[in-house]
């Protein structure tokens, strides 16, 4: 009998550790309320963030130990993890305020943020990726209206402002993506007999891009490349390049047609163009389409950096990953992603931001102030601006970053050239995509189509029906 009890207990406890896993934040969480948020934490647990909104000011400052407050930044960009740490250390030495920087691994920001925010030492500074990301965190955003970062912002276009005028998030980096290309290989190709183009500037439409790419793919052995396009990896480290960044194109052109900025039901009018460019990517590629499910972001970057591929769809942030290898900085350029729709002659690169700073309003007042001071230091001090320019390579929307603080990045230069020559930049409308669920649905369908295990109708379904259902799921 006793044995039986033991075995049942054993069974129950083993099974139940699972549940415990999901709830481990709880114990700590209670601590949060006691320590930093005082009474208002208890109220907050009853009716969401609203109550907390009313009472942020009087959250029992007496209990908080440190006078100076401290900063905890949960950084989104793994590329700049070390640079942020170094910068934080310098600030700590200078201002005597402890600054902690943590960086979430690629693709895990939301889950890391979710568990970090439940802790007693929650991040005081975090990021959202735009309106869709803000939806889940808006109750945690401190109004940045009076902050130095907002005052130095060049335009309200770079801020996330709620309907009632609260500044909830501020973009800190402007980025541009397109088709990064290797000038050296293209020049080699142009000198070959029967080349379809004489200069890279002749690629100014999808038709021309396809013609040249197909021909280069046919001559890949003579050119010494593995394929024209770096592998269209659908591993989670790379699939966002297609399910989000490439999907931006058909969505943008549809918005243009309809003359809207967002929609609750997409029609998918330009899905054929989306199919054409995707077909091009997977056909004129370094790998067989059946391989792409396992190809990572590093694979694609390495292929381009080692001169094995001519084109690589990515953005200015990829510069650090590809520089210093086979491809000289002078040989890097960027073309718009032509998909054969709209006014291609005047199409520019895709420019926007999906990195918005938000300050946690549930943090103690001291911590909030410390965080705002840290941000101000970052964007106004010489050292902060230098690190942004030299080490992180950020182009920012802040007026404090005058021309001398433009980073040396050939991809940024290419982006500026397009703007200077009067081409129309394509905004990042993918921030209006209803949810991650939509992106995952489209990504999976794209992959199955590429592998030959699914057909294009599934992509259409995920794109059109998925949009409507995700939109209603999120906005119910």
């Amino acid at each position: 009998m006793k044995k039986k009890m033991v075995s049942i207990l054993l069974a129950a406890s083993l099974a139940a550790t699972l549940l415990a896993g999901c709830g481990t934040g709880n114990g700590n969480g209670n601590g949060t309320n006691d320590n930093t948020a005082g009474d208002n934490g208890a109220a907050g647990s009853e009716d969401g963030g609203d109550a907390a909104g009313g009472g942020t000011k009087d959250n029992g400052g007496a209990i908080v130990g440190e006078e100076e407050g401290s900063v905890y930044y949960l950084n989104f960009k793994p590329e700049q993890a070390q640079q942020w740490k170094d910068l934080a250390r310098e600030y700590s030495d200078e201002a005597g305020v402890p600054v902690t920087i943590e960086t979430a691994a690629s693709g895990t920001y939301e889950s890391t943020l979710k568990s970090e925010m439940a802790k007693s030492d929650a991040p005081t500074l975090f990021q959202v990726n735009g309106p869709a990301g803000l939806a889940s965190w808006k109750d945690y955003c401190y109004d940045l209206k009076d902050s130095a970062v907002y005052k130095n912002l060049k335009s309200d276009d770079f801020a996330l402002i709620s309907d009632d005028g609260q500044v909830q998030g501020i973009a800190y980096v402007i980025e541009t993506y397109g088709l990064i290309y290797n000038k050296d290989i293209i020049d080699d190709y142009c000198e070959m007999d029967g080349a379809k183009i004489k200069d890279v500037s002749e690629i100014n439409s999808f038709a021309k891009l396809k013609e040249a790419a197909d021909d280069m793919q046919a001559k890949k052995d003579e050119l010494g490349i593995k394929g024209v396009f770096a592998s269209a990896g659908m591993d989670s480290s790379s699939d966002w390049r297609f399910k989000t960044h490439l999907a931006n194109m058909p969505i943008y052109f549809e918005y243009q047609d309809e003359n809207v900025a967002t929609t609750d039901a997409i029609k998918g009018t330009h899905l054929d163009a989306y199919k054409n460019i995707w077909d091009l990517y997977i056909t004129d590629s370094t790998v067989e389409p059946t391989m792409i499910s396992g190809m990572t972001g590093e694979d694609a970057a390495a292929e381009f950096a080692m001169g094995e591929a001519v084109f690589y769809q990515n953005g200015t942030w990829a510069y650090q990953d590809i520089t210093g290898n086979e491809v000289d900085d002078d040989d890097m350029g960027m073309l718009p992603i032509y998909i054969g729709v709209g006014d291609e002659a005047n199409q520019g690169l895709c420019t926007g931001s999906e990195n918005y700073w938000c300050v946690n309003k549930n943090a103690s007042e001291d911590d909030i102030n410390a965080t705002l001071n840290f941000l101000e230091w970052v964007i106004t001090s010489d050292r902060g601006r230098e690190v942004f320019r030299d080490e992180m390579g950020f182009v920012t929307p802040f007026s404090t970053f005058t021309d001398e603080y433009m980073p040396e990045n050939p991809l940024v230069d290419a982006a500026n050239d397009y703007i200077d020559s009067g081409k129309t930049s394509v905004p990042w409308v993918f921030s209006t995509i209803p949810s991650e669920g939509w992106k995952n649905g489209v990504g999976s369908a794209l992959l199955e189509y590429a592998q030959g295990t699914g057909d294009w109708d599934a992509v259409k379904d995920a794109f059109v029906e998925g949009w409507a259902s995700e939109y209603s799921a999120v906005n119910q």
Binding site: A11, A12, S115, Y140, D235, E436, E448, Q451, V474
Partner: protein
């Protein structure tokens, strides 16, 4: 004796009880409560009733991962136990280098699940690359990859349990069977297996619950790709909780259902195999 037991019970049991309460009981109760709530972080939840449970019904991935997990659990449980028992039988015959073999077979169990997952991902992708495929090409690849991985990891562990069971079979029983003229197969099925039934109970229990709760290996090997089709239940819950805005409560509700399911299966299984055990 009884008296001092009573007196010292709190002293000896308190640390464990406290740990159990903090590490298990409180999160467990909160977990159940949260499954009826809408929340972003677990510290500010709003009660909404059974809405989360209703949402599960319309979630196709949950049902799929339920079947996928059930199939995986059955296949891996059978394979692991049969193979572990076979290896245990071989390694109790007194062949040379028995200890070395036992150590080698047990070794994979010392490596963590995530590491194992990545190692096998490399190995299997390396093989599949010859056919221009990857593990995430099709959920069947992920399924068998996971089975291979789990066998490799768990056979050694179960083997140890079986070896101790086999070594505890009284020699006179086997000798008596031999004198009565039993063939080796008869000895195996009528003497050895009934005698090691307690080990079988433990091993089936462990492999069953391990299969159902599998997470690390699944995450590292395929991460549910393609299209969440190789997602086991635990990973499905994790992805619902962390991957979808507004679905935290749904993930929690799935976890509650998951708990009930695993507990039920485990209890039924121990009952069943227990009735087969030989009472001394």
């Amino acid at each position: 004796m009884q008296k001092s037991l009573k007196r010292y019970f709190p002293v000896f049991a308190f640390p464990t009880l406290a740990a159990f309460t903090i590490g298990f009981f409180i999160p467990f109760v909160m977990g159940i409560y949260l499954s009826f709530c809408k929340f972003t972080t677990v510290t500010d939840a709003k009660f909404i009733g059974i809405g989360n449970y209703l949402k599960i019904l319309s979630d196709r991935t949950f049902l799929h991962s339920l079947w996928y997990t059930a199939a995986f659990t059955i296949v891996s449980m059978v394979l692991i136990n049969v193979l572990a028992f076979t290896v245990a039988m071989l390694l109790t015959k007194g062949i040379q280098g028995t200890n070395a073999f036992r150590t080698v077979f047990f070794m994979p169990n010392l490596i963590g699940g995530i590491v194992l997952g990545y190692i096998w991902q490399l190995l299997l992708n390396g093989i599949l690359a010859n056919f221009q495929k990857t593990l995430t090409y099709n959920s069947a690849y992920g399924f068998w990859g996971l089975v291979v991985l789990m066998c490799w990891q768990q056979i050694g562990y179960m083997m140890i349990i079986y070896i101790s069971g086999i070594q505890n079979v009284p020699g006179e029983l086997i000798e008596a069977a031999k004198i009565d003229g039993a063939r080796p197969a008869q000895i195996l099925f009528h003497v050895t297996i009934p005698m090691v039934m307690p080990s079988i109970t433990i091993c089936t229990f462990l492999t069953l619950t391990n299969g159902f709760k599998l997470f690390d290996q699944n995450l590292a090997l395929t991460n549910g790709e393609p299209s969440s089709m190789s997602e086991l239940l635990a990973l499905n819950i994790f992805n619902t909780f962390y991957g979808r805005t507004g679905y935290e409560g749904v993930g929690q509700a799935k976890a509650v259902i998951f708990f009930i399911l695993v507990a039920l299966i485990a209890i039924i299984q121990t009952r069943l195999t227990r009735t087969k055990e030989v009472q001394h």
